[in-house]
């Protein structure tokens, strides 16, 4: 699997994502600068966590308008897998690759802690190695992860099995509607999630619950 990580000036989990990708694929991912016009020919594009352009105005709003995102959108339309984590998820909703919006956490505070997350959907390249209903532990670290979509959109997401991850055990850290932690686009090649599976791949730091996500992608996209 060939992969790329998009780097904005204030991305900060880009290295964390790259480390995992190198570990599971054996090859360093392309690190693609936000000002470039083209993402190289890859199987997976990761839009990483961080603060892109400082996340002034709204998280991900300015990044969604960046030059590189035009090509990310084009490639996503052609079926290339795109994974947006945290700030990456915000950027994907702001660029309309995913529906809905991520609002300020209901308690108005940045929240950084491990949370239990249930795997709701295994029919995707991203979650094929998990079992349905499995509860994993991922860290969240965000101030605006409160997922909002109107009733109609929510109903579609639910009905089409596009809600991949949900906060579990009553621990919704941000007030997301329907406890949504991660969703798929219609074609199921684009996923965004607020928690950080890329930082849950080293047993030293906690249970390595994120590894199946990346290993599954390698199998599915190889």
């Amino acid at each position: 699997m060939k992969s790329a990580v998009i780097v904005f000036p204030a991305s900060n989990r880009d290295r964390d994502a790259a480390d995992v990708l190198e570990k599971v694929t054996g090859a360093k991912p392309h690190m693609v600068w936000h000002g470039d016009s083209n993402v190289p020919d890859v199987d997976l594009i990761v839009v990483p966590g961080g603060f892109s352009y400082g996340d002034y105005l709204r998280c991900g709003a300015m990044a969604a308008q960046s030059r590189i995102m035009r090509d990310v959108i084009a490639k996503a339309d052609k079926g290339v897998a795109v994974l947006g984590i945290c700030n990456g998820f915000q950027i994907l909703t702001e660029s309309r690759l995913l529906p809905g919006a991520l609002m300020r956490n209901a308690k108005l505070k940045f929240v950084s802690k491990p949370v239990p997350v249930s795997v709701e959907e295994t029919q995707s390249a991203f979650t094929r190695l998990y079992s349905k209903g499995e509860i994993v532990s991922f860290s969240v670290a965000h101030g605006e992860g409160n997922y909002f979509a109107d009733d109609e959109t929510l109903a579609r997401l639910e009905g089409e099995g596009r809600i991949v991850f949900r906060y579990a055990l009553g621990e919704n850290p941000n007030g997301s509607r329907n406890d949504i932690a991660g969703i798929l686009n219609e074609k199921r090649n684009v996923m965004g999630l607020m928690p950080h599976p890329e930082c849950a791949c080293d047993p030293l730091l906690g249970p390595p619950d994120g590894l199946p996500l990346f290993k599954g992608l390698v199998e599915a996209l190889a």
Partner: protein, 728 residues
Amino acid sequence: MTAITEQMVREHGLSEEEYARIKVLMAREPNLVELGIFSVMWSEHCSYKSTRAHLRKLPTKGAVVIQGPGENAGVIDIGDGDVAVFKMESHNHPSFIEPYQGAATGVGGIMRDVFTMGARPIAMMNALRFGAPEHPKTRHLVDGVVRGIGGYGNCMGVPTVGGEVNFHPAYNGNILVNAMCVGLARADKIFLSAAKGAGNPVVYVGSKTGRDGIHGATMASAEFNEDSEEKRPTVQVGDPFTEKLLLEACLELMATDAIIAIQDMGAAGLTSSSAEMGDKGGSGIELNLDSVPQRESGMTAYEMMLSESQERMLAVLKPGREAEAEKIFKKWELDFAVIGITTDTKRLVVKHNGAIVADMPITALSDEAPVYERPFTRAPQRETKQPSFDATRDVKASLLKLLGSPDLCSRRWVWEQYDHSVMANTVGPPGGDAAIVRVQGKTKGLAISTDVTPRYCKADPFEGAKQAVAECWRNLTAVGAHPLAVTDNLNFGNPQKPEVMGEIVGSIEGIGDACRALNFPVVSGNCSLYNETNGEAILPTPAIGGVGLVHDVQRIASIAFKREGETIILIGETQGHLGQSLYLREIEGREEGAAPPVDLAAEKRNGDFVRGLIESGRTDTVHDISDGGLLVALAEMAMTEKIGAELDLEGSPLPMLFGEDQARYVVTASSDEALRIVADAKTASIFTKVLGRTAGDSITLFGARIAVADLDAAHRRWFPDYMDGPSG
């Protein structure tokens, strides 16, 4: 040009004698720009005029020290060609006036101190002191400061991994916000601030200059009074995004060999950075302010020289390398300008609109700055006999109350607002004795802790400061680290008062003694004086930030009981010292008695023994005993993984359970291993006592049963409940 009046001199915080000296050094009357420059360079904040003579007594050398105090941050050797670069700094006054921005820019400032030396910041700590919880301002200040620290650090992508929070009425009018940054660099890639050589371009990079915080440095050195809120000093607004760009751009430029010297523009901005670089390099500097990138129109030379706009750096490049450097800064969309040149005159010459607006000998700003041997009186000896207490009080109720008190309750509310996991190297969440961050790609890691117990320092500045160093060393040891060196942040009241000066002198001596005994040199630090409102000084607060080396991040200890059926061993001797204890304050309602004495030889002996146990894999569960004493330590160990303990204790219970004797640890091990540990300790003349074993979901002692879940609830509740209360 405006003639200087007596009133202008006073408004610049300079005394008559100081002004007289200035005239001698200048061999004429200074103009207003020059007066402004003198006022900031001779302020307490920049010149350390009250503390300099005493700071010389601190041990600053050692096998691991590569760069001691005097540079932007200290540098220590951590093996394999790697170095740790670190410093702590205060942003007390600005945080009181505008908590969010004050704390945020404090974080930004200390990060610049570290990356200006060529290091990438890898961890942040924060040591915070607030007024009484009941004080009408406290809640708002806690909220703003914590959000500010998170807001800046999170955006920078540097994990905030630990710190301290205390509440005490002595901070009602002067909160303390001390932030520490630890960075990582290669030993052969350290950048210093000495602008050596003449004819080299002086370049300005980062944000534009505005009229921010003019006179911030003198403000930080002037005592508060009721109407200082009315004076509306401008507080700077932080821009973490620009700082992130500055960090990346500086590190990119540092990968070339174009830089001769580099220094961040902190307090007193262009003035102090240029004067200090010239001073250290033994050179002169000529600045042309017309080239300074400006945010506002019509700025005067005075304003530009004294502006404290954030996210700016000054560098001296090798001649001919300007274009290369400019290209890097343009890529990161930052301002870049050549604004001057180094000379061989040892003078600071400032030009504006074609005229020379300041021309002064640099040594007058540095070496010739005043140094005061201020008169001091030492704190009176406190009563050392055990304070009285009610021996019939219920242990369970006391423990629950202590764990739910403002100074002992869980800080989760605070650290959950900090991204502590970014960079994927933070081992475990905050909440342990010391934070551990792995060195990227290696098996080793750094342990970090900040400590001071101000109530001890008030009772006895010397013993209290010793205790701060000892506790920091002990916290690093308790996770399995080898303590290497410290930074300090000396927060005190008005040094012109002999009692306060006595606290300063006593504290510095205490730090010195402890650091010498523990081979724990001081490599950087900061002084924040005049923390007084209406003549009321804060508690003496010499915060100590320590860094230790963990050889293998797999071989560490944490405070959680991990398995049932393990033997619990107390290491170190208990006298039951209740003076200045939290038990006495929270349960008996009295702050009195002597601070616990620190036996540095016992600290070293006990600590080295415990570290040996961790490194040889004989225990992975260790907690030092500090605030609240033994029973609080045991409760903290029980709460993390919800495993209780059966304790077999006898004798006089309360002082034994809640006394705050130093040099003590609790460790657990399998019963066989525990026997061997006790035997080995005996051989090494180390006092141990078997307390009982881990078991069940309660702590049982003297027939009482305390459910761990109840302890945990009390421990977690206070902070969120308090913060949900009414603001105002």
